[in-house]
């Protein structure tokens, strides 16, 4: 039996039209694709319209790694098997250098494709980015617009004033003297 007949390949098309060919086992890490493939309703090329090529590359990297771990973990003395600590370190390295817009797209992609492990990595990353920051820092980081009226913002801050004391990024607007 040759290699090519043994491994069924699946083609995925990113939102910007790039086509990726991956082994079926890699695609099946994504629960959404697994369901489709099992129901055999996948066409020759599966278009994934919400994920751009660079993001899909990253997602596929993650899936490949998961396949590598799980395929070899059935055998004893597995050199690829990771301890909890190594797994953590790997996850951290994987998310290293991911900027906020990539992170957002990764979250959307892993949520949509239903890849729990990757989603958790993304959520952890976002949590670590938010921790210890003031609202304006968070807005700047994630490019979120402050859509409170001055009165609303004032009220939210007053409810738990202690959490905002010494906020260097907040200036009371002149309208709310």
């Amino acid at each position: 039996m040759s290699e090519s007949t043994e491994k069924k390949m699946v083609r995925l098309r990113s939102s910007d039209g790039e086509v990726f060919e991956v082994e079926e086992s890699v695609a099946k890490v994504a629960k959404t694709l697994q369901d489709m493939l099992e129901e055999d309703c996948a066409d020759a090329v599966i278009p994934i319209t919400c994920v751009r090529a660079p993001i899909l590359t990253k997602v596929i990297d993650y899936c490949k790694d998961q396949v590598m771990i799980s395929s070899s973990s059935s055998t004893t003395n597995n050199p690829n098997e990771r301890t909890e600590q190594e797994r953590k370190a790997w996850g951290q390295k994987f998310m290293e250098g991911v900027d906020s817009s990539t992170l957002c797209e990764l979250l959307v992609a892993s949520n949509f494709l239903n890849i729990e492990g990757l989603l958790n990595l993304g959520v952890d990353k976002m949590v670590s980015m938010i921790q210890g920051k003031y609202p304006q820092e968070i807005r700047d980081m994630f490019n979120v617009v402050n859509d409170f009226t001055p009165e609303e913002e004032e009220e939210i801050r007053n409810q738990n004033a202690w959490a905002f004391e010494r906020d260097p990024y907040y200036k009371k607007r002149s309208s709310s003297k």
Partner: protein, 424 residues
Amino acid sequence: MTVGCSMMPDWLRLPEELVASIAIRLTLISDYIRFGAVCTLWNSIATKNRHRLPGHLPWLLLQPTTTSTNPLLSSLCTCKKNSTSTSTRRRRVCGAGTGGWLIAVDDSTAVVSLFNPFTGFEIPLPPLATATNSSSCYLWKAVLSISPPAEYSGFVVMALYGQPRSHKQRLLALLYSRPNSPNNNDFSWLSLDQTPRVHDHSDIIADIICYKGRFYAVDNRGRLFECDIYNHHHHHSPPRLRLAATHLHEFHQAPAPERKDNYIHGNKRYLVESIQGDLLQAVVLCNNNVNIIRRLISTHHAADQEAAAAAEIGIEVFKHVKGDEREEMGRWVCGADDDEAAAGVGEQILVLGLYASFAFSASKHFADRPAPCKGTWIYNGGFCYPADNSGIFTYTMVSRKLAFLMFFKQNVAPRLEFLLHAEP
């Protein structure tokens, strides 16, 4: 077939459930509150999902010292909603539960209340004096069995109290809430039968804890008592204290090799639940060398209390091992006796406080900072002092291997910042 969803990398288009799952993973309440102040969408998600917050770390408060009052503490104590009463200002926090609940007492009236500065809920509790038959008493510490829901039903509070300005005698009282009856006439403090304790005047209860839904007390000799609250609840017999572990020295006769003879266990002991879920007893080690203590007193020109604090040189931690059928009582093991206990310390940080002690994972909370070294202990409550007027408190502690400083930025608590110095 097309697999599709929206295209823009727009944070506001993340599914609401996903944003909620991010928000509830913020371990510190201050982070959660600030997250909710980012925009209207995230505010509504944060507000909607408050009830899903996991057992948060208790509030980390700094006790006001004689030289400075603590703005954070006063802002917490006065943030009670719908009230302009100045009497709230006099409340002293003396206990904390998970989910942001605090127990505070007004020392002038001994009125105790349960309040949550985060949600604004407040539950008045009956005055502690009803348990004592005397008009004045001092509440050392109170612990809460579970976080009461908004309609406050089914919680138990244990109080450690005594005579004002006297360390001599400390008593325990319990308070059971009656489910679904917010009328505070329905609950009263129940003084605890303390018969299993030897009534020796030198015995005092050093700390109390609610651990896995049960109440425990430790005395100044390290003996652990369990309070059988459910016995009372179900059979209406008075709650009793049961000895759950004898004092430490029976099991810890030989000093650890690196331990010098001039270290003794002080009276300060703290019960704390480790991140692995074990019950730990942390004992403050004191310098037993009379000359050193004399020198400390003379160099510090300070009150006894400060000199005593300066003599504190470290913390020793013991793990409680439950008794089995053979051995009815549990016992304490320490790192020297038990490898598992030593390994269990790992990378967690213990915060030992006057009104609440807790453990948290160093790597989880300080992922982006230099990780505190293995087996470090943070000890809060003995010798804290404001370094200057900048609101930064410095905590110092020397353990066997490490000396470290810990900075609390007063107004952004409960965030912690670390500076670690390994001892040469």
